[in-house]
Structures are given as structure tokens and as C-alpha cells.
């Protein structure tokens, strides 16, 4: 059976499954639409959170990032998992106890201020919308590469699928489809990893294979030593050693952790479990399901890098020490050349491919482009795996993008219908009216996201910095202080959020252009110009510290919050009913 037909079958079958679930899980009340009626089992919610969290970027881009950055990519691995500790211990159980529907709703109530609520809504919508654009693009790319449909067509199909289950089922429909999507994506990620680990090290568990001897033979080198040596011989940096500046790596990790804990679409997932104690364990389950992919990714990255280097410059066999002839390049190489993500330029005209790092004096690098996104997608082809595995990877990538997009769209539409409409503009709306409004808001958000997916604004690539910066510098501190510091009042919280947000945005815009308009950057975006060598992506942690400091000082010199707010804080600190 041809690869394309196989891919149609596998992707089609997963779509049929998602739609079947959507029909089974229709939301009848706002409670079901926003928080799935608070009836989701903590383990299942963990799976749904895993799919919600792991986006096209985690599935497609992360292993490639690791492959090319080596140790320095650890910031993503630790940053995107360590945030769950903060979520479990500092936010999720308390927000679940509060028991409302959205994150801005808690901020508005705790700081008895509609301004605080609106600031939170704006942060939420900006962070989620920029994030969702990336998912839409991912869906389009997956379709166009594997199903050979035009990009627009792929995007449209993706939008229709999300539309069906998100508009009908709300959080309830999204939760159960995300569980199915998690199963698809984790299977699609681990199967090729196991094959490749077996092939290179004879170990079926990639996490152990990464530490094993080449070919599973104790006389051979360790895989990581071999990779270090191969790279250094060709003039690249060692794989396992640090390249970047330590302060930047430290703050980058911290910003990603705080940002992860502050992303509203993730927090809201823990509003769907029945009890406070379920919220605690459910965060643990989420991280279990996420860790399966996140501990496999370093193995995939390192092994893919080694395979790539060995293909171009084998160190054993009859071609040992010879650069690959361009004429003899494998078929996956040709396929990816067509997409423009892989580019070769024969600079010295010898008909062979020289792929070397800056440290190599003998040759110029002729692989002018090796896009990191191709690593996961090309991996099964490089390792010559059967067609069904390649089809599965396509379905997995699409599942990762769809599940994250749906979670983000839900966060956006609930904050529009629940926080803005019901909360501020029309408080007298009936439950039925609000349910209708949230469906319309969802449909509208899908169209807006689809529009931006088709016409990506120039800043689409900067999404990560912005989304995590906003969440880290505004939402996380406001939530944490709301629970842990009774004395923080409305003025302190609002000024804290605005100053944390302000300084982070200014720092990002300073190096990336005001509102990402090209040519308006105040300084070149590189380490030499960054303040203390801190990258814009790593600045969210500094913004969060400013937020904490401002809120604390301002609250200290303005009146304490009223008594009912202090009672509210005492109530959310204990799981059971408080008797006074």
C-alpha cells in the first residue's frame, strides 16, 4: 500500500474517532461547557492535560531543537516540566477549591476589581491567540507534507474538526477528544523512538539507549561519547556540554517554569476534577504522561543527530571517512529538499556533501539549511521504518496540534463569554443565553485563529517568548499572591501585573521590534546586546520578580483588603468547608 493512501487511512480513522467522541459528549449546561461538569477522573484529566500541553512544537520541534542545541536545549526539558511542580503546590488545588470557571474570574474576585479581571482577560487572550496561530500553522504543514493537500485545504479541514467537537462539546467534548489524542500522539512518538534505539544500541527503552554503548556491545564507545567525538571532529560544539551563558540558561528555565504554571488553558484543566485532592494528584498524572514524551525526546534528538552525521560522513563501513556523494543521497534527503527545509550548496564543487561546524578549518559548511523541524518527521524515513509508522507520525503531529488548539480556543472563548459578557457587560444573562454566547465565541475564535493561520502575522515565530512572558510576568504572580499573601489588595495586584507585564513587553519589543514590526528594534537581538546576556525569551522571570515586588510594596502602603476577601483567602486554603 502506498504511503499516501496509508496516511489517509490512519489520519481519517483518528478524525472519525474524534467526531464520534464529540457526538457522545455534548455539553448541556455552562458548567459542562466550561469545566466538563467537574466530573473528570484525575488520571484521565492528566492524559487530557498532556495532550492539551504538548503542542505541535513539543511533538515536532523539540527533539530537533535538542538535536542541534544538545545540552543547552535542557532549558526546554526542565522548564516545560518543572512548572508542573509549581502548579501542583502553589496554584491548582486552591483554584479548584475556589470552584469557579475561569482564571480571570478568580483574579477579579480575589482583587475585588473588574480592572484586574480585564487585565487578566487581555493577557489570557493575547497569550492564547498567539499560541494558537502556531498550532494552526502546524496543522497546515502536517497536512501539506503527508497528505500532499494544499496548505489552505489542510488548515480548513483542521478548523472544521475542531469546530465540530469544541463548539458542540465545550470542555466536555474537548476533554474526551484530548484523551484519545494523547493516546495517538504518544504512540506515534514512542514507536519510532523504540525502533531507532534498538537499531543503534540494541536497547528497546530510548531513555536507557541514550546512555548505552553503540550496538549494545560493551567494546564499543558509549553513544553520547561517540556523538561528542563525531561532532568535535567535524568542528561542532560538544553535544553534552554547555555553550550558552549560565545566567541566561538559569533565567530561561525559570521563565518557562513560571510561564507554564501561569498558562490559563493548562490551569483550567484542573477545574474539571471532582475534588481538591484530585487536583493535586491529577497534576502528578499530567506530568507522568508528559514525562513519557519529554524523557524520550532527548534520546530521539541525540540519535537523530548521530544518524544524520553518519549518513553524511560515515565513520565505519566501506565508506568510512568519505563525505557522502550528492548523487548518492538517500530518498528522504530528496523529499525534504523539495520542501526547502533541507538545502545543499556545493561550495567547493567536488560533488560531495561537507557538513561541518564553525571550528572546521578545512571545509566550508555546504548544508546551508537543515531545518530542525524535519528531525522528528524524517526520523522514521532515515531509520527506514515501515510506512505505517510514518503514517502514524503524521497522525500524531496532527493530534498534538489539534488538541492544543482546542484547549487554547476554549480558554479564549470562555474568557469572552464568561468574564467579559456575563461578568462585566451583561450580568443578568441566563445560563442558556451564556451557553449560546460561549458557542458563538468559540466559533468566532476558531475563525480568527484560522484567519491568522492563513495570513500569519510577522511575529508568528516569536510566539513562545510572548506567550510565556505574559503568563510568567502577569498571571502567575497574581494568582500565587492571591492565595499565599492575604495582604495584597486591588491596587497592589493591578499595579504589580501592569509593571511586570510592562517591563517584560518592553524588553521583548526592544530586541524584536515594537509590536514585532520589522525594523523598529532598538538593538540587535544577540547576546552581546542583551542586558547581562539575558535573552528576551528568558526575561519573563525578571518580569515576575518586578510584579511580586511592586504588588508587595504598593499593598503595604494602601488599605488592607476588606474582611470578606480575607475570609475568601482563608476558605480556599483548606479543602473542606470552613466553619466560623
Amino acid at each position: 500500500m502506498s504511503l499516501q493512501l496509508m496516511t489517509y487511512l490512519v489520519v481519517g480513522a483518528t478524525f472519525a474517532l474524534y467526531i464520534f467522541i464529540a457526538i457522545k459528549a455534548k455539553a448541556a449546561t455552562t458548567g459542562e461547557f466550561y469545566v466538563a461538569g467537574k466530573g473528570v477522573h484525575p488520571v484521565l484529566n492528566g492524559m487530557a492535560t498532556g495532550a492539551d500541553w504538548m503542542s505541535a512544537a513539543s511533538f515536532i520541534s523539540m527533539a530537533g531543537l535538542i538535536a542541534f542545541k544538545g545540552y543547552d536545549a535542557s532549558v526546554f526539558l526542565m522548564g516545560w516540566t518543572g512548572g508542573y511542580c509549581l502548579l501542583a503546590m502553589l496554584l491548582a488545588p486552591y483554584l479548584r477549591k475556589y470552584g469557579k470557571f475561569t482564571v480571570p474570574e478568580f483574579i477579579g474576585d480575589r482583587y475585588y476589581s473588574n480592572i484586574a479581571r480585564v487585565v487578566a482577560v487581555i493577557c489570557l487572550i493575547t497569550a492564547s491567540l498567539t499560541y494558537v496561530i502556531g498550532q494552526m500553522k502546524g496543522i497546515g504543514v502536517a497536512f501539506s507534507r503527508f497528505l500532499e493537500l494544499p496548505f489552505e485545504m489542510g488548515l480548513l479541514v483542521g478548523m472544521i474538526i475542531v469546530f465540530i467537537y469544541a463548539v458542540m462539546g465545550g470542555m466536555k467534548g474537548v476533554t474526551y477528544t484530548q484523551i484519545a489524542q494523547y493516546c495517538v500522539l504518544i504512540f506515534a512518538y514512542t514507536v519510532p523512538a523504540i525502533f531507532i534505539s534498538l537499531h543503534l544500541t540494541g536497547t528497546a527503552i530510548p531513555q536507557l539507549g541514550l546512555g548505552a554503548h553503540m550496538g549494545g556491545d560493551a567494546n564499543n564507545m558509549f553513544l553520547l561519547d561517540k556523538l561528542d567525538k563525531t561532532l568535535v571532529d567535524l568542528g561542532f560544539h560538544e553535544y553534552t556540554l554547555q555553550k550558552g551563558n549560565t545566567l541566561n540558561i538559569f533565567l530561561y528555565t525559570l521563565s518557562l517554569m513560571i510561564g507554564t504554571a501561569g498558562l490559563p488553558h493548562v490551569i483550567t484543566r484542573f477545574f474539571t476534577v471532582p475534588k481538591v485532592k484530585d487536583a493535586r494528584s491529577s497534576v502528578g498524572w499530567s506530568l507522568v504522561f508528559i514525562a513519557i514524551l519529554y524523557t524520550t525526546a532527548p534520546a530521539v534528538g541525540a540519535m537523530a543527530r548521530l544518524n544524520l552525521m553518519e549518513t553524511i560522513h560515515p565513520t565505519s563501513g566501506d565508506q568510512a571517512g568519505q563525505w557522502l556523494k550528492y548523487e548518492e543521497r538517500p530518498s528522504w534527503f530528496k523529499n525534504w529538499e523539495k520542501t526547502g527545509l533541507l538545502k545543499f550548496e556545493d561550495k567547493n564543487g567536488d560533488g560531495r556533501i561537507q557538513y561541518v561546524g564553525k571550528g572546521n578549518k578545512e571545509f566550508k559548511n555546504e548544508m546551508v539549511k537543515v531545518d530542525r523541524d524535519i528531525m522528528v518527521l524524517a526520523n522514521p524515513e532515515i531509520a527506514k521504518l515501515p510506512n505505517w509508522v510514518i503514517a502514524l507520525v503524521a497522525a500524531g503531529g496532527i493530534a498534538a496540534a489539534l488538541s492544543t488548539a482546542a484547549g487554547l480556543l476554549l480558554a479564549i472563548s470562555s474568557s469572552i463569554s464568561h468574564d467579559l459578557l456575563k461578568g462585566i457587560i451583561a450580568p443578568n444573562m441566563t445560563d442558556k443565553g451564556e451557553l449560546l454566547a460561549s458557542r458563538i465565541a468559540m466559533a468566532g475564535s476558531i475563525c480568527v485563529a484560522g484567519y491568522f493561520g492563513l495570513h500569519p502575522p510577522g511575529f508568528a515565530a516569536q510566539v513562545v517568548a510572548l506567550a510565556f512572558g505574559l503568563a510568567a510576568s502577569s498571571i502567575f504572580p497574581a494568582l500565587m499572591m492571591g492565595i499565599f499573601v492575604k495582604r495584597i489588595n486591588n491596587i497592589g495586584a493591578v499595579l504589580g501585573m501592569l509593571s511586570g507585564l510592562g517591563i517584560t513587553l518592553v524588553y521583548i519589543f526592544w530586541f524584536k521590534g515594537w509590536f514585532f514590526v520589522p525594523g523598529t528594534a532598538m538593538a540587535p537581538n544577540n547576546a552581546a546586546h542583551w542586558f547581562l546576556g539575558i535573552a528576551p525569551e528568558a526575561f519573563g522571570a525578571v518580569g515576575a520578580m518586578v510584579n511580586f515586588a511592586v504588588a508587595y510594596v504598593v499593598s503595604g502602603i494602601t488599605p488592607a483588603p476588606p474582611e470578606h476577601i480575607q475570609h475568601l483567602v482563608e476558605d480556599i486554603r483548606v479543602p473542606g468547608v470552613v466553619r466560623r
Binding site: 535538542i66 545540552y71 535542557s74 526539558l77 526542565m78 516540566t81 518543572g82 508542573y84 511542580c85 501542583a88 503546590m89 502553589l90 488545588p93 531513555q207 536507557l208 541514550l210 546512555g211 548505552a212 554503548h213 564507545m221 558509549f222 553513544l223 553520547l224 561519547d225 553534552t240 556540554l241 554547555q242 549560565t246 540558561i249 538559569f250 528555565t253 525559570l254 475534588k275 481538591v276 485532592k277 493535586r280 494528584s281 497534576v283 502528578g284 506530568l287 507522568v288 514525562a291 519529554y294 524523557t295 532527548p298 482563608e570 486554603r573 483548606v574 479543602p575 473542606g576 470552613v578
Partner: protein, 84 residues
């Protein structure tokens, strides 16, 4: 001082303890001490600092969250503040 504030103090102590471990495995072993730890190898060919940064810290995070959840459930019962 009521039981409730005693409960809250016990909670804060637990959180601080867990976050110290959280900090040590990631920022400590995975970043600040990683160059020094890399001379030790574990599980075959993993340099220890590299292992903490790309594997070990993640496993520890998982264990920490379940430990925290388990201890908190104990505290809830001890202070009689559990749900239902």
C-alpha cells in the same frame, strides 16, 4: 491560634521542603553544578550533570508531586479539613 493556621503552617513547610528539592535537582544539579558533575557517569554513558538536565530532574519532579499530594492528604485528615 487555631488548627487552621497550624494546618497552613504545616502546608507551607511541606511546600518549601519540596521546592528545595525541586531547585536542587534542576537549577543545582542540572545547571549550576552540571559541569562539575559531568565527570561522573551513570546508567552507562550518561555524564551526571547532563543526565540531571535531560532526564533526572523530570523524574524527580514527578515523584515530588505525588509525594506532596500524599503528604497533603495526610495533613488534611490530621487537621480534619478534608472534603466530606
Amino acid at each position: 491560634m487555631s488548627d487552621k493556621s497550624e494546618y497552613w503552617r504545616a502546608n507551607i513547610r511541606l511546600v518549601i521542603g519540596c521546592l528545595i528539592v525541586w531547585f536542587i535537582v534542576s537549577y543545582g544539579c542540572g545547571i549550576l553544578l552540571a559541569p562539575a558533575l559531568n565527570s561522573i557517569h551513570i546508567l552507562g554513558g550518561y555524564p551526571l550533570g547532563f543526565w540531571f538536565a535531560q532526564q533526572g530532574s523530570i523524574y524527580t519532579f514527578v515523584v515530588l508531586i505525588f509525594f506532596y499530594a500524599w503528604r497533603m492528604n495526610q495533613l488534611d485528615r490530621k487537621f480534619g479539613v478534608q472534603e466530606d
